[in-house]
Symmetry: C2
């Protein structure tokens, strides 16, 4: 881009993300290649934020009620010059799926807006702004979806206060995700968790977390598989998801390395070492939900390297 | 070695080890280059185990009361042929220091004996046998000292049941260890821990564990430093160690990356990126214990790559 030109409109796609990755409750997240939301953001001469939704999800267009609006406003509050944005949102990630729909809106919007501000903010700051949107969506300021959405791959949120986000790696794994068409609110899924855990259970959990992170960094599939065990959150939350145990067992029989609840559910994800296994897993999942009479969406995809991706830039001379 | 020869006596040295590494309670351990115990093991024609101590620690020589004896007996129980061992122990790692003295005895003995049995057992099995000795010493079957003692470097014990030991890495770090001459029993240090932890604290802890493991694997000193935080065990156990907080603060001011209680204490260890910092840390530790009037031993050393090391083999034709 010539220095005299300024990008006035950019279209990005923001991927679905899976938080927790079984044992890494609130600290691990992973970006998927598909599905993706598409967001077109323009910088405007007028102040403030305008939002238009070009989808069927009936989400609020009032910026203070909209996760992308809240994230963009947090960004504008930190920007030292007056500015405004126009956002057109084409959502494809269903809200309430457990696949980071609100994170995709929030992270997609701020990454796109940052391009229009000549990358004024760092990725870490973008995660902060997007977290303001997450807070609106779930009542909790968490980063395990927005961080992988901004950074891509698998991210570790070592700490939230102060934020410390560590991109881990992008293992060449296949991901099967099934989204049963039932509703679980993130806030409900969080409320049913106990506030205390036994120290001896916490020790088992942190052994598995350390194992999973090591497995990702060393690309050790067997270690990833052995480490994807959650004795604290999954036993409680999985009760809300019909057929969960059966799907997990049959997926592993079909060749999955392991998996569990996507975020707070109800989607279930499984990692596989190759595409054939991922498709076999998909078929075994479908069979179970057909039998249980539950509608679903299902995806076979990979881990996204880049998170939010630029799809199109419109450049005008200024 | 010629196939017709059989090693009848071997001398090994077994290193001091540091369990937990601050946030990795019960799952992480690290082998030090120094100090080391020396153990001479001979295979005997008679059954059973004879133990001689060539040091001043007055440890039991009855094999069922001796950690090395119990470990060797566990090994003999799993060996399909009749055999016996003669052990001469020259301990240099003070019992009760928090530096894995019992683990060095147990692991050193079984690694040496396994050489005499033509490496009949795997490293994982040796850890199991040595854990029987640890159980005698502390009442708990734990592997966070014996695993790094057998494997060297830094090891992750992902799981104890079934055992799953993952050698992580051997970062080129310097270690300063100070051992105040006070006594804390591992069993006491374990008893004062609360049986429950808050989920929100457990989440902070597993973020740090994941960060520490990532720091070791990526050789990221800043990340290692940020992750060496323990909000669950250290605040409770450090009360038993005089001057702990002051030593930690002054060590970090002197250039340490971080550190904390070695195992269940009372020794305190600090990691540093270079030898100068490790010596500065040592001097600041000495100053504090001089002022408090507490006797101590202090070491500046490195992380041991190999754990138990063969010092000498005696080969006789058979």
């Amino acid at each position: 881009m010539n220095a005299k030109n300024r990008i006035s409109t950019v279209t990005v796609s923001a991927p679905a993300t899976i938080a927790n990755l079984v044992c890494g409750f609130d600290i691990l997240g992973m970006a998927l290649e598909e599905p993706r939301d598409f967001l077109q953001v323009s910088i405007t001469d007028s102040l403030g934020i305008q939002i238009t939704n070009q989808d069927d999800f009936d989400l609020p267009t009032d910026p203070v009620q909209n996760v992308a609006g809240v994230a963009l406003q947090a960004m504008l509050n930190a920007y030292p010059h007056p500015a405004g944005f126009n956002l057109v949102s084409h959502k494809q990630i269903k809200p309430g799926s457990g696949l980071g729909s609100s994170a995709a809106s929030a992270a997609g919007a701020v990454v796109a807006a940052n391009i229009l501000l000549d990358q004024y903010f760092s990725s870490e700051q973008l995660v902060q702004f997007a977290m303001a949107g997450e807070e609106l969506a779930s009542g909790v300021r968490h980063a395990d979806n927005v961080a992988p959405c901004v950074y891509g791959g698998i991210t570790l949120i070592r700490s939230l206060l102060p934020p410390d986000i560590i991109p881990l790696s992008v293992p060449e794994l296949f991901v099967t995700v099934i989204h049963p068409q039932i509703e679980i609110k993130t806030s409900d899924a969080r409320q049913i968790l106990r506030k205390n855990v036994l120290l001896k259970d916490a020790i088992i959990q942190w052994g598995n977390i350390a194992g999973l992170v090591t497995g990702f960094l060393k690309n050790d599939h067997a270690l990833i598989s052995r480490s994807m065990t959650d004795i604290i959150i999954e036993p409680v939350r999985s009760i809300l998801i019909p057929g969960f145990k059966e799907i997990k067992t049959s997926s592993i029989e079909a060749g999955a390395l392991g998996g569990g609840i996507a975020g707070s559910g109800p989607s279930i994800f499984m990692l596989s070492a190759d595409k054939k296994a991922a498709i076999d897993v998909q078929n075994s999942m479908k069979d179970i939900y057909h039998r249980l009479g539950i509608d679903y969406n299902v995806y076979v995809t990979t881990i996204s390297q880049h998170g939010v991706r630029i799809e199109n830039e419109s450049v005008y001379p200024i």
